[in-house]
């Protein structure tokens, strides 16, 4: 089937674009076939009936005229012959009979005075002989029938149509009642056959024309049906691609117009729903963004004051009542957590709003990782396998966020030692963070980068904000990179960070920016002498 389709497609493509949609199963082809069959049936039956009726009418008319003539001639001429005519008389009479208006050949058979059978031949038709007359006809002609009420004569006129060398003939014969000669006639029906042939040709051509016409009609009908169907298909696929403003032009009042209208209504409803959902989504995102902004102001005040409290706690003098010391410690630590959470929320909303930007710099990856783990006092817990001298162009702050989240996560769930290894390929930087913990359950693995995903509801509240890995992922994405999580065969979870070595194409080059914006500093400060 596919081969056939392909073949037809290839053939069609070679011919015409419009035919390229022609398939054996296509509506277009089915319509053409059905139209063709209907036209063929109608045309063939109409032509057949017309031909048949015509043929009978023509042949009967010709035949009756000929037979009437023949009968007349037999009566007039053969009937006036003596009972035993001579060969010459018979021959002459045959000639006279044949010269009638119908131009048939005549053969007269009689017995002469000596009892010898004599033949009289009109001479036409290459010598009409008794052998040309079918035996059955001869037998019927010379058979004497009983004269009854229903049958007044002992002999009758019989006729038969024969075909000799492709030419149709009418052969008839009769015997003169009362012992006269037996007469046969033969008339060529070629002119009539020719007429009928040309009639058949005309009817055939008419049938062909009807077929072609029906095929064209079918094409036209298919086009009127299929064009809207095709447009509908195109519109549906555009809608599927997310172009929700796709609409069809509705023309007419037929079922296809109804379908188009239904499609338009559906698309409109869909667009509205999507717009509503987008608006709701946007509103909730803005709410989170606004909320985290609003939280910052009081948090800034609280943070500043908490530090004062913290210093009091740490001071040797012991400035805080031991009774309320745990309360102060709780406030201090929870404020720090709240700070982290708000910080992470801000980060997430920046990614969601698309306002996150890269600030690129050339960094030595090993130095960067060392600084990251050093700043968090993780040097003892992290086993770093990285050579100095691997440089990449990226946003160091974002790399730090990724590393801190990955390593922090590994330390929290896997425990030390955490192994961090750096490899570089031609255009990629691959950093692996591997822990030696129990690994990540298979059902959790796909969700580790989800926001606020907790492996189980019963799990104790962790120190993290629940946003760390998701932020790490977003930071990798903004670099055009990727983080994957997997379980190592020798146990423990492995997070693999892949970053392009040069992220410059993703952002404006800071050096270009410095060159470009040089002038803008002037306006702000002027050249104060």
């Amino acid at each position: 089937m596919t081969d056939q389709q392909g073949g037809v497609r290839g053939w069609a493509a070679g011919r015409k674009g419009a035919l390229s949609r022609l398939r054996f199963t296509s509506l277009r082809l089915r319509l053409v076939v059905v139209f063709g069959l209907v036209a063929l049936t109608a045309a063939v039956s109409a032509s057949g009936i017309a031909y048949w009726l015509n043929r009978e009418a023509v042949l009967t008319r010709t035949q009756e005229a000929v037979l009437r003539d023949f009968r007349q001639e037999m009566h007039n001429r053969a009937g006036s012959l003596p009972a035993h005519p001579t060969q010459d008389e018979l021959q002459r009479t045959a000639g006279q009979m044949a010269s009638s208006s119908q131009r048939f050949s005549v053969l007269l058979v009689a017995e002469d005075a000596t009892g010898r059978t004599v033949y009289g031949n009109s001479g036409g038709l290459n010598g009409f002989e008794l052998e040309d007359v079918p035996k059955t006809l001869r037998a019927a002609v010379i058979r004497q029938q009983d004269v009854t009420d229903g049958n007044k004569s002992p002999y009758h006129l019989y006729w038969q149509r024969i075909v000799d060398h492709g030419t149709p003939y009418l052969v008839a014969g009769t015997k003169v009642i009362g012992g006269g000669p037996t007469g046969y006639m033969m008339k060529s029906l070629e002119p009539e056959a020719k007429d009928l042939n040309s009639l058949a040709w005309s009817l055939g051509i008419a049938t062909g024309l009807a077929l072609i016409g029906s095929a064209l009609l079918a094409q036209a009908a298919a086009t009127t049906v299929l064009k809207p169907v095709h447009r509908l298909g195109v519109a549906a696929s555009r809608l599927g691609e997310g172009k929700l403003d796709t609409r069809l032009r509705v023309s007419g009042t037929d079922e296809l117009a109804d379908l188009s209208r239904t499609f338009n209504n559906a698309a409109e409803a869909l667009e509205k729903r999507v717009a509503e959902m987008a608006a709701r989504d946007e509103a909730s995102r803005r709410f989170v963004a606004d909320m985290s902004h609003e939280l910052r102001t009081p948090l800034t005040a609280i943070t500043a004051v908490t530090e004062v409290l913290e210093e009091e706690l740490d001071s040797e003098a012991g400035g805080i009542d031991p009774m309320i010391e745990p309360a102060v410690r709780l406030v201090v630590s929870e404020t720090r957590r709240l700070n982290n959470l708000v910080e992470n929320l801000m980060e997430v909303t920046r990614f969601d709003a698309g306002t996150a930007r890269l600030v690129l710099d050339d960094v030595d990856i090993a130095d960067q990782i060392t600084a990251c783990i050093d700043a968090r006092a993780w040097l003892d817990a992290v086993d770093l396998d990285a050579e100095r001298g691997i440089h990449a162009r990226l946003d160091p702050r974002r790399l730090d966020v990724i590393l801190a989240n990955l390593i922090g996560n590994a330390l929290k769930h896997g425990g030390s030692p955490v192994r961090v290894s750096v490899r570089e390929t031609e255009d990629e930087l691959v950093i692996q963070v591997q822990d030696h913990g129990p690994g990540i359950p298979e059902d959790v693995l796909p969700h580790v980068f989800d926001r606020f995903y907790k492996a189980s509801a019963s799990r104790p509240r962790s120190d993290g904000s629940g946003l760390g890995l998701s932020i790490a992922m977003e930071n990798a994405h903004i670099h055009g990179g990727e983080i994957t999580a997997a379980n190592s065969p020798e146990g423990g979870a492995v997070f693999t960070l892949r970053l392009p070595r040069d992220t410059s194409p993703l952002t404006e080059d800071p050096e270009d920016r410095a060159e470009k914006d040089k002038g803008s500093g002037d306006g702000a400060q002027g050249e104060t002498p």
Binding site: R296, T297, E311, D361, R397, A514, T528
Partner: protein, 228 residues
């Protein structure tokens, strides 16, 4: 500079102003506060602080505008306090002439460290002078003259120029400069360097758009050259 640094804190939110004042006072600073940009500018004329901590979002004239107005006449160090760490705000802040910025919610210790780092930039060091074309840097007097004319540089700009001039012809990366000049940790914002270089070029270069002194070294950072 007085032994106890005096600061001017311009912040509209009462809670933050009070808390930061408390925190900074405990860190050993003398803190004057203003709730609006207009009040801040007035206070600035009356008593001259060593440094200004300026909130970006202020009623009336905003922090960026306050920063620009101060820079028109004064080279006082300014640290921006921004709740909006959206990158565009930081860029605008740096272009309006701020020396450094901190993002809210800011930890008092971080702010204190930044303040001290900025203040250190103005400290004199006993050293010689260096000449780069028409530019003369007098390290002992902490002055820079161009064609014999005194240049008004902020302490940050001056420190950047000094660090570059200490290693003439040697390229310094942005991270190096951030450590040397801003005393930031390993995660300094390299745009601080870019913004400061732009401002410095506007003052020391003959044609700031085609610098001959402070050259960009692609993929590395910046370098101070004597003009050929």
């Amino acid at each position: 500079m007085s032994p106890v640094p005096s600061l001017l804190l311009i912040e509209d939110d009462d809670a933050i102003r009070t808390a930061l004042e408390l925190s900074l006072t405990r860190q050993g600073h003398r803190v004057a506060t203003a709730a609006t940009g207009e009040d801040g500018l007035k206070l600035l004329r009356e008593q001259r602080p060593d440094l200004i901590v300026l909130d970006v979002m202020l009623p009336g004239i905003d922090g960026f505008e306050v920063c620009r107005r101060i820079r028109r006449t004064d080279q006082l160090p300014i640290i921006l306090l921004t709740a909006r760490s959206d990158d565009i705000d930081v860029v605008v802040g740096l272009e309006s002439g701020a020396d450094d910025y901190v993002v809210k919610p800011v930890q008092g210790r971080v702010l204190d460290a930044r303040i001290r780092a900025v203040l250190r930039r103005g400290e004199r060091e006993a050293s010689d002078s260096a000449t780069f074309g028409s530019l003369v840097i007098d390290r002992s007097a902490m002055t820079v003259t161009k064609n014999g004319e005194d240049l008004q540089l902020t302490p940050t700009e001056l420190r950047l120029l000094l660090e570059l001039s200490r290693r003439p012809g040697q390229a310094l990366s942005r991270q190096q400069l951030l450590r040397l000049v801003w005393e930031h940790d390993y995660l300094g914002d390299s745009r601080l360097v870019d913004a400061c270089v732009q401002r410095l070029r506007a003052k020391v270069e003959d044609v700031p758009s085609s610098p001959t002194l402070i050259r960009t070294v692609r993929g590395v950072g910046y370098r101070l050259d004597a003009p050929q």
